[in-house]
């Protein structure tokens, strides 16, 4: 098949499934489920087909033209999008398969699968988008569909709140991105990504370094929102209220990955903007450490995984900001696989024991679920960076890049984050596999095959994917950084140290089962309270918004609606005589309008 039909199949089939399911199959959840799975399989196969064909020139279609402005629509088919497209399609397919079991008894099954399909369509179209505006549209759609999926169980008030928080917070970032795009429109009137990136004629050659820094920084604000970087990260842990497969999808290959992927897409621009790159590097490093410290003390398995995602996203952005496209892509792909695996495992535990607490899962006999526990351990080890699993190779690449460019402070930060990662991951593993008391009764929950199969497939992926690093580099047309042996050894050393401390705290037979951090009380409190960031927001932004809206309400009732006593015009006496609040007094409206007109008229006359 030719490239065009393949790419259309990849992107359109989820959309078609969504439309058909939502319109015709509301009453037939099984049919909807089958259809959506089928669509996802087609999408995956054609994405693989595209990858096999290899990179080709971008395809562009005119969407809209008027005068000088033309909006186009198209597909960029370079190494990064081809590979990541396959990853997205693959993980979506796995999660859909898994959802068949997970959502088996949910009444809103059709809606769920339709939304998943819609989500897949938005994300795939985003990945292949050739035009910046097109990217933005699908970026918004990714946010929109995750809004619905996070709030899928809308009977739970937490779910509704989390969905709203996620949407609002990522929108804060989106405004930044949107303004960045508007700046580009104003400066160069061109949204074609390949030509914007062109080293000879692209954006970086047309605008001054200051402007370029501003644009990239604005774009990065968008990335911060989507990829949950400090200080816009607090929506992500709350987003755990959605169904677990959704969390898996959100945190591995779609929602949060969109931010990183945007940076991958526009990587040359970020490299040209030196200051922005440094800011990104700092924020990413800080986020990586911050999130790991919170993950150290949290007890909810999904929350730990969520913070771990934030931290790993920090790693990816570090790699990109330090200059290595390859390291960023590589870690994005490996992380997608092992993080999806970990979430699916946690989903099986939650499904089986109806608790999110790691200690509870352990006590209920979590390790009896053999395949799941295997997946958890492999995935966890990959996340920690235990050689020779996937995470080891990609993290190694990041360290190498940081070392190569001499970013020593950031390197130290990265090592600290890697150590903490190993620690909290194995804390999780030990809490589940080595409970402090033997499981009381043995009511065995079989792992359904359709849930087990994706776990096993992803486990395999987490093991072998690391060895394809050179293929990925080749796909991107890049050469991997040379690994220095000292760096490798010290990285492994850090990981082993983390695992050992975790073993000491939680794993050995009469372990204290409290983290070492609890010995330093202030830090423990700080971490447990998530660095008080949510609270800071509550007392600042939320309070300001409420105050603002109260002020406006007051103005509406008192100034505009004309309670004379509060009316601050000098010639009017203020008195406490009539304090009743009068509303709806129309003459004051009119008077203000007249004064305004007079002032404008005078302004015109005096010109």
């Amino acid at each position: 098949m030719d490239t065009l039909s393949l790419i259309l199949l990849t992107t359109i089939s989820p959309l078609a499934c969504f439309i058909i399911a939502i319109i015709f199959l509301v009453q037939q959840p099984r049919a909807a489920q089958g259809l959506v799975l089928f669509g996802s399989a087609i999408s995956l196969l054609s994405a693989i087909g595209l990858l096999v064909q290899g990179p080709v020139e971008p395809l562009r279609f005119l969407w809209f033209q008027s005068g000088a402005i033309q909006l186009q629509f198209g597909f960029i088919l370079d190494g990064a999008s081809l590979m990541f497209g396959v990853v997205v399609a693959f993980i979506t397919a796995c999660i859909m398969l898994y959802s068949v079991g997970y959502m088996a008894h949910d009444p809103g099954k059709t809606r769920y699968f339709a939304l998943l399909s819609f989500f897949a369509w938005s994300m795939l179209s985003f990945v292949y988008a050739v035009d910046l505006l097109q990217s933005f549209i699908f970026w918004e759609l990714v946010g929109l569909s995750s809004f619905f999926l996070i709030g899928f169980w809308f009977e739970k008030p937490e779910a509704a709140g989390a969905a709203r928080k996620a949407f609002l917070m990522t929108r804060v970032g989106d405004v930044g991105l949107f303004i960045g795009i508007l700046l580009i429109l104003q400066l160069v009137s061109n949204f074609d990504i390949p030509s914007l990136l062109d080293p000879q004629t692209g954006l970086s050659t047309q605008v001054s370094p200051g402007i370029l820094n501003a644009i990239t920084l604005l774009i990065f604000i968008g990335i911060m929102g989507k990829s949950a970087q400090f200080p816009l990260h607090t929506w992500l842990p709350d987003a755990m209220e959605g169904p677990t497969p959704v969390s898996a999808l959100l945190h591995s290959a779609t929602m949060v990955a969109a931010g990183v992927f945007l940076m991958i897409r526009l990587h040359p621009l970020f490299m040209a903007a030196q200051d922005t790159a440094l800011i990104v590097l700092s924020i990413a490093t800080f986020t990586a450490i911050l999130a790991s410290t919170i993950a150290m003390v949290d007890t909810d398995i999904k929350k730990v995984l969520a913070y771990s995602s934030i931290s790993q996203l920090g790693f990816m952005l570090m790699a990109l900001a330090a200059g290595s496209l390859f390291a960023g892509v590589f870690h994005l792909i490996t992380h997608a696989v092992f993080k999806a695996l970990l979430f699916l495992c946690s989903g099986i535990y939650i499904h089986a024991y109806h608790t999110n607490s790691m200690a509870e899962i352990g006590r209920s006999g979590g390790r009896r679920l053999k395949a799941t526990t295997l997946g958890l351990i492999i995935g966890g080890a990959a996340l920690s960076g235990v050689p020779p699993l996937a995470g080891f190779w990609s993290k190694e690449e990041i360290f190498a890049q940081l070392g190569h460019n001499g970013f020593n402070i950031y390197m130290a930060g990265a090592f600290l984050a890697a150590f903490l990662t190993a620690y909290y991951t194995f804390r999780m593993i030990f809490l589940i596999t080595k409970p402090d008391q033997a499981p009381a009764s043995d009511h065995s929950h079989p792992e359904p095959l359709n849930m087990k199969a994706p776990v096993l497939i992803l486990t395999l992926g987490a093991i072998v994917l690391g060895f394809f690093g050179s293929n990925i580099a080749q796909g991107l047309g890049l050469i991997p950084q040379h690994h220095s042996v000292i760096l490798m050894i010290s990285a492994v050393g850090v990981v082993i140290l983390g695992i050992l401390i975790a073993y000491f705290d939680y794993g050995r037979d009469n372990a204290p089962r409290t983290g070492f951090i609890s010995k330093i009380a202030p830090l423990d409190t700080l971490f447990t309270n998530k660095w008080y960031i949510d609270d800071i927001y509550r007392v600042t932004i939320v309070a300001i918004t409420h105050a603002l809206s109260r002020i406006l309400h007051w103005i509406e009732n008192h100034v505009l609606d004309g309670n004379y006593d509060r009316f601050g015009l000098g010639i009017l006496r203020t008195g406490a005589k009539s304090t009743r609040v009068q509303g709806g007094w129309m003459q004051l409206y009119l008077g203000w309008a007249i004064i305004l007109l007079a002032v404008v008229a005078l302004y015109l006359g005096l010109q």
């Binding site: 004379y564 009316f567 002032v599």
Partner: protein
């Protein structure tokens, strides 16, 4: 000279009537003020060369509209007998708005140069016949639309004021 005096009398009528309408607390006086002001305007219209419009102003505005307002006042008389409390602040605000607006507009008017025509148009152009002709040629749409508006106003007024 006498002509000048007559014009200034009309101007005085317009302004005094307007002042009465604007400042009076008694509704009846305000309506009388409106009537006086409209009468003065009719005089000015006459002086500006248009007896027909002046006549219409007297007939429809003073004879029709003002009387209708008096009737409405009488139908809701219970409230208009008692003069509402004067509210100095509200009046102050209104005067401030009006003064600012007047200042701005007067400033602009004094600064403006209009292209005034040298001599007024012929007697024929000012005749009622010319007016009628223009109303039925130039402005036939306007004329039809106006009749429609009046029809709707009548239907609407009956409908709104009808007892439930």
């Amino acid at each position: 000279m006498l002509e000048q005096a007559v014009i200034y009398t009309f101007v005085a009528l317009v302004l005094i009537g307007g002042g009465l309408a604007a400042f009076s607390r008694q509704i009846l006086y305000a309506i009388i003020g409106l009537g006086i002001s409209l009468l003065g305007l009719a005089g000015l219209f006459l002086n500006l060369g248009s007896p027909f419009v002046a006549a219409m102003q007297v007939l429809i505005y003073i004879g029709g509209i003002t009387v209708a307002i008096v009737f409405a006042m009488m139908l809701s008389i219970a409230m208009s007998i008692r003069p509402p409390n004067p509210d100095a602040r509200k009046l102050g605000f209104a005067i401030a708005c009006a003064v600012i607006f007047f200042g701005a507009v007067a400033h602009l008017i004094r600064g403006a140069q209009f292209q005034q025509i040298a001599s007024p148009a012929s007697e024929k152009a000012w005749s009622v016949g010319a007016l009628g002709h223009a109303l039925l040629t130039h402005y036939n749409v306007v004329f039809e639309a106006l009749s429609l508006v009046l029809l709707l106003a009548i239907i609407g007024a009956i409908l709104i004021a009808r007892k439930a």
